[in-house]
Chain length 401, copies 2
């Protein structure tokens, strides 16, 4: 993807597109339920003034077909929750449910996703997926999410973190991570030099780094982020991480209103726990992005509460961060709990992307209201099971709409 | 370094060597001041039954010469604190103070440490250093610690984490990280493919991974660690991280009493914040070790409270984790504070290494007693400056000895 094309892509995804504004009553309810109200939004979970990424021409005629992958573990349960919530909002979405599996290409040994899933996404161009297995069909370890991102060329990831009112285990945390999804350490370029000696090659290109950085700065401007922090280890990997930083610095000069900063990854991991407020938007290469996201998601109540998006030139991927049962409190370790918060938030994002900002706002308001009412899953310190939690959200949706 | 040689090295470093046992009174004082008392020690900060790494034959005749590098920033202040504390214990240590600087080799471009420092360490074989600058003489970013480790062939790092009684911002955390210091991402092997395209080559060898793993398991057995968790990203870097894991698994079969586990790095970063008790000893490749250490050090009160050691075949390096002012609480961000806890702990380790376990115990007991008395630096929530804090430790040493 060329930088110019990517820039146009960013502009298309991020341009203000609000065909249907939410009603004043709903907006007030949202403002009451969260401090992400109008004028204070630094995160994409906020809605009243957030810019809604849009999909394009294909999706304008309802019903809109969306590929849905249940995944494994808690996947079927959380995807059932999403379907119930979207049904309650009467969103004109038609699910194309597909399985996901990864096997290795017999000639190259590289992991590839099952063809029927790719065919479905080629048609729908929007995919929502639950937790996906981290083993290939031959039993070897694999990152299914990465394989999917590469197959769909979803090269930029966006992960918003926001502790919701009523569940703030580490205080008020609000951040967004814009990351490269597919290059750097995730190039998957490895070889055996001699038995017992292996090399992994991390490839960083100026062009791709600039494209990701431009996406991040466009996003920052569109969503009111006031500073962007690039994470790196350029004191060790001077050339590769140095190339990434040079690209970020170069792009940052085009956005004088956004403060640009740099931080070493290990220092970030150290500081974010004690003082998350010092970060607003993160701009990260592939592996560092995964680590930073994991570190921050622990501060907002676990990965099960965090949505993620990934964008390519003609596809949008929505999902959650976890790839297993959401276990994040010591007292519930022995008993896996299922928390659909992240994927419901992700589905709300998806509706925004599909030009339904009112429905996005409705879901987010109902979700926040539910947590404020004390209906929480066990990993959030409550007693509700996944179904009870979903029912409460659905009830709040019908009450608010 | 061959694996067999490294094994002998481990055995030498870690064999029980207690020429002078601490007095019962001091041992009781230590047990009163910390829960690292006899029988409960899972960390090297514990002393009463911890195995003391020893240096070898050279150091037996006092005074023992030790290379001391003040470093930059808070370095001179914390090194002055160390000198005062060691003087109070009457440890027969003679400092050989040296500056540190890094410049680039004009032919290879690789960073190299100043020759006088290396000559000093070649003689003393023990070095204690404060925070070191992260810029080379030409102003470019560089990891001075890594350059030093490579120059001294200090290939294995040991970092113990323990929140002390009286300062537990995230509850009771106790862990130790044994890490590879010099290979993997830290190979510093990079090249320009074509303008704008850079590759970093991460080299992992089975032999070196086995040596590090064996060091870790020997250490675990000697110090009573009951499980070892290897951190990896083998779902993405299957061959390189896979080689590391294979080596760890292979070595773990020789130590049936130690439980061996594996965890993905991002999952670790997520889980450690919410439940640090699930980890006992970490076994990490180079970059992942730095990230894990940073994440854990945030949980025990900041890097300024954490000591580190690095071992090579004929050298021992002692230092602290931070490379700048210890800033870890929001309310003191505007004002750098100097906290010598980490380097004083590190000096105590050094005395243990130099076959003075009674003095090591004395320093650790006095340090814990000081914190329990409420004398803390500002980053630990107290009001004492570095000098007041050091004076209190010195006072406790003279009271206990």
């Amino acid at each position: 993807m060329t930088s110019a094309l990517f820039r146009r892509l960013c502009a298309r995804f991020l341009r203000p597109a609000r065909p249907r504004e939410p009603s004043p009553g709903l907006r007030n309810a949202f403002a009451r339920n969260t401090d992400f109200g109008a004028g204070n939004c630094h995160c994409c979970c906020a809605s009243t003034r957030a810019v809604v990424p849009r999909y394009g021409e294909r999706v304008k005629t309802p019903p809109i077909r969306v590929t849905l992958v249940d995944g494994h573990g808690p996947g079927p349960a959380v995807c059932a929750a999403v379907r119930a919530v979207l049904k309650a909002t009467a969103a004109p979405v038609e699910w194309d449910r597909q399985p996901v599996s990864v096997h290795r290409d017999p000639t190259t040994g590289r992991p590839i996703v099952n063809a029927e899933l790719l065919e479905s996404v080629a048609e729908t161009r929007v995919i929502l997926h639950g937790p996906v297995p981290d083993t290939a069909s031959d039993g070897s370890q694999v990152s299914t999410t990465l394989t999917l991102h590469k197959a769909l060329r979803a090269s930029v990831g966006v992960q918003p973190f926001a502790s919701v009112d009523g569940h703030r285990p580490f205080g008020h945390v609000r951040m967004v991570n814009v990351r490269d999804n597919v290059s750097g350490e995730y190039s998957e370029n490895e070889h055996l030099v001699t038995p017992g000696v292996v090399q992994s090659i991390k490839t960083v290109t100026r062009q791709h780094s600039e494209a990701v950085a431009r996406f991040a700065f466009e996003y920052a401007v569109a969503n009111g982020h006031y500073h962007v922090t690039a994470l790196h280890k350029a004191n060790v990997m001077r050339m590769s991480d140095g190339t990434f930083l040079k690209a970020c610095r170069s792009v940052s000069t085009d956005y004088p209103d956004v403060d640009y900063r740099e931080e070493k990854l290990d220092k970030f991991c150290l500081r974010v726990t004690n003082d998350p407020c010092r970060y607003d938007m993160l701009l990260t290469p592939s592996l560092y992005g995964a680590i930073a996201s994991a570190a921050v998601s622990a501060l907002v109540g676990g990965p099960a509460t965090v949505p993620y998006m990934a964008f390519g030139s003609d596809v949008a991927v929505f999902g959650t961060m976890y790839d297993g049962p959401a276990i994040c409190r010591k007292d519930v370790i022995s008993e896996p709990v299922i928390n659909p918060t992240g994927i419901i938030r992700s589905a709300a994002w998806m509706l925004g992307h599909l030009e339904m900002p009112d429905k996005r706002l409705l879901i987010e308001t109902a979700l926040n209201e539910t947590i404020r009412q004390g209906v929480k899953t066990r990993d959030m310190g409550g007693t509700a099971c996944c179904e009870e939690y979903t029912d409460a959200i659905v009830h709040n949706i019908s009450r608010l709409s």
